[in-house]
């Protein structure tokens, strides 16, 4: 991959992500206002939504990584037990010319990995123990390099922010639905709102969670492809990542620690039944076969062709 193109892509990715966070915040605000209108206080709804958004963003900025790690029941890596994992992360950090991120380990035999944090200086890479058991060292390098590419592209910041914002919208929708279920929109307080306004409010309330998910998934798929290319640029050996993706995809085991909120973070979506059923637009990852085909088709400058043995690497 041409270097200038890569850095241009990183800049474009950051702009896209910023736009995404803005649109999601606007969506959250509109949603809050719509809910408020339903209950006769459009202003209050907006204020509550904005307050929730700010509180969430601050919490995510400073505590997002540790919350994600806690939710995935990850432990910090130790030199004695996690020698290979720590070594591979350091090797790939050198290949990328980046600070070495913290390494966490999830004790689970399902092979998977994710990265989180807010920028390359505050980044964490988490891997399952199954990843190392089921992949060889080259494949492990490819996966870790994919995660470091997420870190370098600032995906980790926006994925976490977006996950939280989407979470907030879904949460509010749940809450509103439950209130309607129990009491219904109180007619008495609704007197001042006109009919069409209520209709619009209902429409927004119903569509907001769905459009938030669509936006999230669209940007996520683009990022996964970019990170695959970044990994190839670091290892100069895309075949290893292609093999790793196939192995992770084919693995029948379910990652217990993953849930709907953290699923988009992983290298291959851990909730496989969801990915299989989900329509193309809702997928957070491109289909694995497509990613593998892209990696096998890469021709890298400086010699290494996909399918060859890795040129100057010890395996």
């Amino acid at each position: 991959m041409e270097t200038r193109g890569l850095y241009g892509e990183i800049a474009a990715n950051r702009r896209r992500s910023l736009l995404l966070v803005f649109s999601l915040s606007a969506l959250l605000g509109a949603f809050g206002a719509a809910l408020g209108t339903l209950y006769g206080h459009s202003g209050a709804g907006l204020v509550v939504a904005i307050a929730v958004a700010i509180a969430l963003l601050l919490t995510t900025w400073y505590g997002g990584a540790s919350m994600t790690l806690a939710a995935s029941s990850a432990r910090p890596a130790e030199p004695a037990r996690d020698q290979v994992r720590l070594n591979v992360v350091q090797e790939m950090a050198i290949a990328a010319g980046m600070p070495v991120p913290e390494v966490y380990v999830i004790e689970d035999s399902a092979p998977n990995a994710f990265a989180t944090g807010r920028d390359p200086d505050h980044a964490v890479v988490a891997v399952t123990t199954g990843l190392q058991e089921k992949l060889d060292r080259d494949e492990l390098q490819g996966v870790i390099a994919h995660e470091l590419a997420h870190v370098r592209n600032y995906d980790i910041r926006y994925t976490t922010l977006v996950a939280v914002t989407v979470g907030a919208i879904v949460l509010l929708a749940d809450f509103a639905l439950r209130r309607m279920w129990w009491s219904g929109p109180t007619r008495s307080r609704n007197r001042d709102a006109s009919g069409p306004l209520i209709l619009i409010a209902v429409l927004v309330a119903v569509l907001a969670p769905l459009s938030a998910r669509l936006l999230q998934a669209a940007v996520s798929r683009k990022r996964e492809t970019l990170a695959d290319l970044g990994s190839a640029q670091m290892t100069r050996y895309p075949e290893a990542l292609a093999r790793a993706l196939e192995k992770i995809e084919a693995d029948p085991e379910v990652l217990e620690a993953a849930n709907r909120a953290t699923a988009p973070l992983y290298i291959v979506n851990p909730i496989k039944s969801f990915e299989k059923r989900a329509a193309g637009l809702l997928r957070s990852h491109p289909p694995t076969e497509e990613r593998v085909r892209l990696l096998r088709g890469l021709v890298l400058p400086g010699g290494a062709q996909p399918g060859q043995e890795s040129p100057d690497r010890v395996s």
Binding site: V84, N87, I94, R313
Partner: protein
Amino acid sequence: MLGLGIGVVLLAILGLLVLLVGWGILTYNALVALRNQLQNAWAQIDVQLKRRYDLIPNLVEVVKDYMQYEQEVLTKVTEARAAAVSAQGPAEQARAENALTGALRQLFAVVENYPELKANENVMRLQEELTGTENRIAFARQFYNDSVMRFNTRLQTFPTNVIAGLLGFTPQEFFETDDAEREPVKVDLR
């Protein structure tokens, strides 16, 4: 009328000068940043080479009791390490490093014949450390070469090439490895 015309021309020239100087400053800073990255990448290679020198005596120490009949291989590794540590200049350094890599490869091939050694926890840990270090050296060189390419490309493309020489920047050399070293070192004991 004439006075006003001269004023406009002067202003235009002044504006152009400010733009040129501003561009010069930005270019200079960008080149310095790239050169620093490149020097840092070079230093990283040295750090990893030194790490390898430090690991080898430990490996020899652990292995030597098992390998009474293979003293020759061990001596070769120790000598190659000493030669690499004291090598002067890039060419000699590269030759010495290649010899050391070859000697290590031989040692690991011999280790394969000793089941006790292969199962020894210390040996396994040292092997993984050496594997990791070899990788780090290779990746550090790759990143160094990438940095050189980025720096040289910037230096040689228009419009930077017009002032790069004036600012005292010269193209940097790539790190070349010979073919013997590009072959993977087999240290997998599983």
